[in-house]
Amino acid sequence: MTALPANSILSRHRWNAGELVWLVCALGCFFTFPEYLALGTAVLVMVLLVLSYDLLLGFSGVLSLGHAVYFGLGAFTAGWLSLAGWKDPVLDALLAAAASGLAAALLGPFLLRLTGLPLLMVTLALCVLVFEAAHLATPITGGDDGLSGVQFAPVLGLFDWGLGGRTSYLYSLAWLTLVYVLLKRVVASPFGVILQGIRENPKRMRLMGNRVLPHLTISYSIGGALAGLAGALFTEANAFVGLGVLSLETSIDVLVMLVLGGVGTLSGALIGAPVYMVLKHFASQWSPFYWMLVIGPLLIAVVLFGRGGLLGSARTIVARWRRAQP
């Protein structure tokens, strides 16, 4: 049996140096940037959300503009559970993930029959629909004001919230690491490999005996569940949840973040989310619309001139530099 090359899709379960370095750095940031931990937590939550989206777009070929629905559902579920008296954060996160996953599993069989522009349209419409419905349902969502007074019990009974974001940062990082390990196994499994076959050529997969829709639905459900988990972490970190989590803007943000980092590699999310969030954070301080002027051209440049997002472009540049070496 000959060895499999490192860049084969069958080798994705192996960790590469970059991923490990990233995790170590993320942990390091806890010590080196104590005043930016709130931003850091927001970044980690976004990385998790973008990872869940990579499973859909990068590995299943599902282009959806409705991912915010699952993020928002998870966020609000955690909020409702807290207000109902269930304050254990880990439990709430798991239940929120379950709720979003279930919603995705129910919608999937209908939505995933579509591809291309029709799918884009329907997921877009779904996102707007859910947002408008949530806006109307003020008693349960708090409407424009959102849900406040959402409190959670200390993590594992030991670590209190609200100490400058220290707890929420490490808590989010722990979840993120766990999810990353999980996703690496999923995409490297026979299920994941076949999923990528479906992404490349669903017609051919059908004529290999695969019904396609079950695979897409499972992938969509996992993605939805993980988005819900990210949503719960958002609520837990902010002690607040507002309608923004369900907005179309969030759906587009996730797509842009993934593309910036690189689609279909999992590690793309590790780059795209931080870059986007940091750019947006600092550009917003000039004017609310300024960040669009920065991100817009960046997105266009990355898509037109860079292959595989920032990560892919970096790899290409490194490869070219290596070849140019005598």
Binding site: S189, G192, K203, N210
Partner: protein, 261 residues
């Protein structure tokens, strides 16, 4: 005692609006059959394959695979039951390597499609079967190259490897030699002759050399209906077939060829 035929199609018909593309076609393939399907362009050969595989739904007729009625089933189920096709224009996973392409088929056929926890790289049996197919089709040199980047003739071999990976009982080959430069045809020929003896093979082909070296039976499709089906020499020298398929000048050339064979 007659054996159940591997594939039995009866009265298959298909219309597209006013265009009657397939007219009451009945075809039987015994286990181990080596049948060539010939006919002029536009005769409806690819449509027939699409009807057999379930990509198109027939307006009338039935289909049995090893005695089992599959008329109302979808193409995925038919493939799982052993009715496998290859494509005239290669339909592969372009950015994936040859090995990965075949692995997908192997994993799917082995029922491991929903195995979600164990890394694929640890599935010893699947990897070995994939490698065996690579060796069988002599694709070792390109094994880890992206399928979109290898020679076209080799891509056609990947098609066949995938078809074999799916454990076929009936194999429908849609112009396997199409687009292969003559220098690369040997590989295809040896692959065809290496096909397991018990599977029934229906091959659409224009290449007469392939037909003569490979087929024990020839079926002629003209204007959507089956003109005749029989022993190659008898069919090919039948005046009706020659007139329709080869044209008069072709008929003369063919007679000269026969005289030399």
């Amino acid at each position: 005692m007659s054996q159940t035929p591997a594939l039995e199609a009866r009265g298959l018909s298909k219309k597209f609006g006013a265009l009657h593309v397939t007219r009451d076609v009945s075809l039987t393939l015994a286990a181990g059959a080596r049948t060539a399907l010939i006919g002029p362009n536009g005769a409806g050969k690819t449509t027939l394959i699409n009807l057999l595989t379930g990509v198109l739904r027939a307006d009338a007729g039935e289909l049995r695979l090893l005695g089992e009625d599959l008329t109302r089933t979808d193409s995925a189920l038919r493939t799982r039951k052993g009715l496998v096709r290859t494509f005239q224009i290669s339909s592969l996973f372009t950015p994936l390597s040859v090995f990965e392409n075949i692995f997908v088929a192997v994993a799917q056929a082995a029922g491991r499609a929903f195995s979600i926890w164990r890394p694929a790289a640890r599935e010893r049996q699947l990897l070995e079967r994939t490698e065996a197919l690579v060796v069988q089709l002599k694709l070792q040199a390109d094994m880890h190259r992206a399928v979109g980047e290898i020679a076209y003739g080799r891509q056609r071999l990947v098609e066949i490897a995938i078809a074999l990976a799916l454990d076929p009982k009936v194999l429908l080959l849609d112009e396997p030699a199409a687009g292969i430069p003559s220098t690369e045809l040997d590989l295809l020929h040896s692959a065809m002759h290496g096909l397991p003896e018990d599977i029934a093979v229906l091959m659409i082909e224009h290449d007469m050399h392939m037909v003569r070296s490979f087929a024990s039976q020839v079926a002629v499709l003209v204007d959507g209906s089956l003109l005749m089906c029989g022993e190659p020499r008898a069919v090919m020298s039948h005046p009706q077939v020659q007139a329709v398929y080869l044209g008069t000048s072709g008929q003369q050339r063919f007679e000269r060829r026969l005289a030399h064979a």
